[in-house]
Symmetry: D2
Subunit: 339 residues, 4 copies
């Protein structure tokens, strides 16, 4: 067993305030399938925060579920989604999007971010009915490599999408960390203006489970609950998703938790840099990718849990360290001492 795990941001259960609200409301008789008061309040709260009363908010259990349902609900059979090669939907969802019948058009990216130039190349290469028709752009924020989109970048992608009849969808499994990262200049309200749909990740930021899908573009809202039901995502006790997001978004808890996670990662980053090591990407979020000597990695692995991400050269590898709302600062300090 490890002294401490930096494997991921879902090693613990939920923040105590989340459990408290679940417990407090436990015996209220509520309607099923997300038509309860708790869900309704949580949705209202999120719509207030994103400053868009006409958006629709739907809660689901998990990120892959959110991605596959949103994309399948938008796309016609012959339409495709564009994503970075590193995109979660491309790499780590066991072909969930393809299982709903759709191709993913891939673009190269060294930092896991999509750019207008790469999008234009895909569009230029797809001209007739012998090829799929790209219709959605998928981006993750923060990305699978810990990077984030800045307002100017997101605006450029958004403009490109609107000009070219593409929908823009943001996977926010780690959106809290992105929004609260050092130098971040996007708010939830900004995002709601620039994308057509996104989801706010709960699982990786303090909930037991749960992601809040926000459908901003009214064209995407119609009959969405049918999609949820058909893909097995409507929970009989939908209340437990509503209650958790209520707990996370009243009193700013969601942002506090993400800020803590980032702070812990930043402390690690600073110490690792000080120790003279480089990083695979420039990350201000709760996932960092330091490049360490294999010998040091072997030593660290005796006491700490983390993934070896990528071989860099004969003697060095990038590892992934992930912090979370639950990461204890003393454990970070202990880890640092081992460097």
């Amino acid at each position: 067993m490890y002294k401490y795990s930096f494997f991921n941001d879902y090693s613990e259960g939920a923040h105590p305030k989340v459990l408290e609200l679940l417990t407090k409301t436990n015996f209220d008789q509520e309607s099923g399938y997300g038509e309860d008061d708790l869900t309704s309040k949580a949705a209202k709260l999120i719509k207030k925060i994103i400053k868009n009363e006409k958006a629709e908010v739907h809660f689901v259990s998990a990120g892959t579920q959110a991605n596959l349902i949103v994309l399948a609900s938008i796309l016609k059979p012959y339409e495709s989604v564009i994503a970075a090669k590193t995109g979660h939907i491309n790499v780590h969802e066991a072909g969930a999007v393809e299982a709903t019948g759709h191709k993913i058009n891939l673009v190269e990216s060294s930092d896991a971010k999509v750019t207008v130039e790469r999008l234009q190349e895909v569009l230029s290469g797809h001209g007739d009915e012998h090829m799929v028709k790209p219709r959605v752009v998928y981006i993750s924020n923060s990305t699978e490599l810990g990077t984030v989109y800045y307002k100017k970048e997101l605006k450029a992608i958004s403009d490109f999408c609107r000009k070219n009849g593409l929908y823009l969808f943001m996977d926010g499994a780690r959106l809290g960390s992105a929004l609260c990262s050092e130098g971040a200049d996007l708010t939830l309200a900004d995002i709601a203006k620039l994308v057509d749909a996104f989801y706010i990740g709960g699982t990786k930021n303090g909930a037991l489970l749960g992601e809040a899908i926000v459908l901003v573009n009214p064209e995407l809202q119609k009959n969405f609950r049918f999609h949820l039901k058909q893909r097995g995502a409507l929970l009989a006790k939908g209340r437990i998703l509503g209650a958790q997001f209520l707990a996370l978004f009243q009193d700013n808890l969601y942002f506090e938790l993400a800020t803590h996670a980032n702070k812990m990662a930043a402390k690690l980053t600073k110490a690792i840099k000080k120790a003279g090591y480089k990083f695979l990407t420039e990350s201000k979020t709760n996932q960092i990718f330091p490049i360490l000597p294999n010998k040091l990695i072997a030593k660290l692995q005796k006491d700490y849990g983390f993934y070896i991400w990528k071989k860099v050269d004969a003697n060095n590898s990038a590892i992934r360290l992930v912090t979370s709302w639950a990461t204890k600062e003393e454990k970070v300090d202990e880890f640092i001492k081992e460097l």
Copy 2:
């Protein structure tokens, strides 16, 4: 607002012992995606109870999810599943099975149960490659009309399936209620011997959410986790499903809860019969379908929540009353007084 709701068995949250275990284990660092200790213990416990160490147990969030994944994992593209016309997969899952590409062959049934005779008719009518090839029989226990399968019946269906190269799958969303109903003669171990796969419903019997899929037939076990992932069912914090089933199955809680629900339903049944009313089906489980005068229904609806199931004649309708582990006996008594 209603004084009390008999709408369904998922109006409340979880049994306190379930919440307790979630809270108690909350800060343990565990592996993700169901590879944690809690899940492992819960699976082991269930395999012990069904007396089959070679079975596989997988936990998912919801019943529709369980049904669509199990069926899609078994069937080749041209294969179909046979179900009663009333079957949940046919009526109330928004085409989830068809969305995975498979046809449901329907059989008529007045009590929601499937019989060997009806199955034989389907097989006799499917002879060549111009038609789908039936490969799985789907049954729900207890059924959508509150009825249950008895050992002799299940044995007959099981024998028929094995003889004819069909797999048998039992939807156990309300399996607890079936097993604990008056006169029931099946155990979980019996079921594990007679079917190829089934699931044990948690959501409707004391959990916040969760269904335990049991794959008995080794042919159905291979690579099942790929299916779970692809359909969006692998929770990052799979631990919360494991923990809940652990709470439910250690100390027999699961059966106690179901027994309470049935007892409350039986009390209602007895009183309604005494008041001179008939029932749509003979149910010993936690769903009952009394046929009441429309006038009485209108009066009851002022204070109590329940569904009107079916018009029976000009003046009478069948309603559905559902009890659960959380149903308060005093509320049942109050309801009875209104008859």
Copy 3:
């Protein structure tokens, strides 16, 4: 070997005039994938005959292909198609529609025809997101039991569909026979006014292969060629479908061939009635279903090919006799002598 086969209407190749046009145009260099002159001319001719210049005409290889592509192109993932239980898409297409992800809602029918009453029942029973949302009505004309729709009937269904937001699709695998049947009061132009999409069957009325899909409703036309390509239906030499329909529709050949087939069936019907036998359905088209003594059937089977359709009682069965454009009157006469 049989003296003669009444098994079906696709036992021979193509009408000589069809082969002639294929041969005559064989060495012209044409564009691929249906963008050739022959296809363009055939489409134009059909649009003229149906009196709708804004319709789109697309040619495919086979009936199941036509059905699955049209339906999959119309339906959103959670939407379903309503059909008679006897409908070809339900019984004899190996689950092709479900393989594209969609449920078929079935209605009972003794003559294989759909009625407004049955459709209303389906709509009344589908109210929320826990069920599929019926969106298309599928009818076949002539039906699988040889019956046809009359103008009044089709108008009633069409009105019902338009009032209820349903699309109406007609499977015309044997449309020629329906249009040319005794007492028929529908023209192709009538049909084009009353349905949203239909196809005109070539395979069973003189072509080597080919069905002409007609998309009347402009909402259904957009990007249809993407669907054709994705389902494997765009032929590199699409010209061979265009050429065949050109041969069939210039000089009225299509209707002459269907009339001949019907005439042969009518001759059989008359003789069988005269011999004292009844029929399973009242058919004026090229499929007839006489009920004959099993002994007689056994005798006829020695020399003639046909299917035994259905056991009627201990001593009698309904058989299916199918005539076609190629049926020789002398063979019909010989068959009659055996009765």
Copy 4:
């Protein structure tokens, strides 16, 4: 209008001998759906030529249809197919494979050929249930860039596949041209030993339409006709596919036609090289990709039809010239004079 088209190898109809056999057998009464004598004879002939009596041969209408059906018949929902980025299934089939639910894992390739090194990389990168499981390797021969596989190369891929539990599938839309190309060292019998399934393209080598799917590995044969039916590929008059392949493979016609096509392409290649131009790929087959000055291209386009394949630099582009069984040598000579 062009003086002559080098756009593709499906600009004309069928070779006269193919039309002759269709005409000659036109009035024979045959069984439907490929259970006729002509199909049976053609299948037998092909099995003899590939020296494998246990193989199964099925005829379908088109290449995309062949690809999607074979792949969908092999793959479990979570399994994927590996292909070169240039592969027809990836680029030019409008997402047909994904529409059956499966991901395509892409490998880079400058000559459109797959190598063992690239395959190994894909396998190494796919380790658990969070990713798809690669199960089939797709190769096209000749490739989309006119190149061919040699025996040593195919043997290496075949060995790799067998060692790693992968099936090997060859898209033979232009297999004739590959087999008859200068320096080719593979026979149909060799291929049948090295792959698990392949198809022999008819459409692009003398047929009106038709591809012969050969299932060599017995594991892939079971119930294949169900797949054909479900995807809309079983033609009522399947005889017309059988007849065409019978015409092509009796008397070696198939190979003669491919040889002629290659000879015409070789003549073009020689002349273009002599005129001082380079090529995008080294092609010995009927597709060649010369790199010409844009000015010359503009001049040639006035009289000849061909595609501009790719911009090479500011002043030069690669064009694609395709020859076929029907290409007239005099037209090739005229084209050469224009260089």
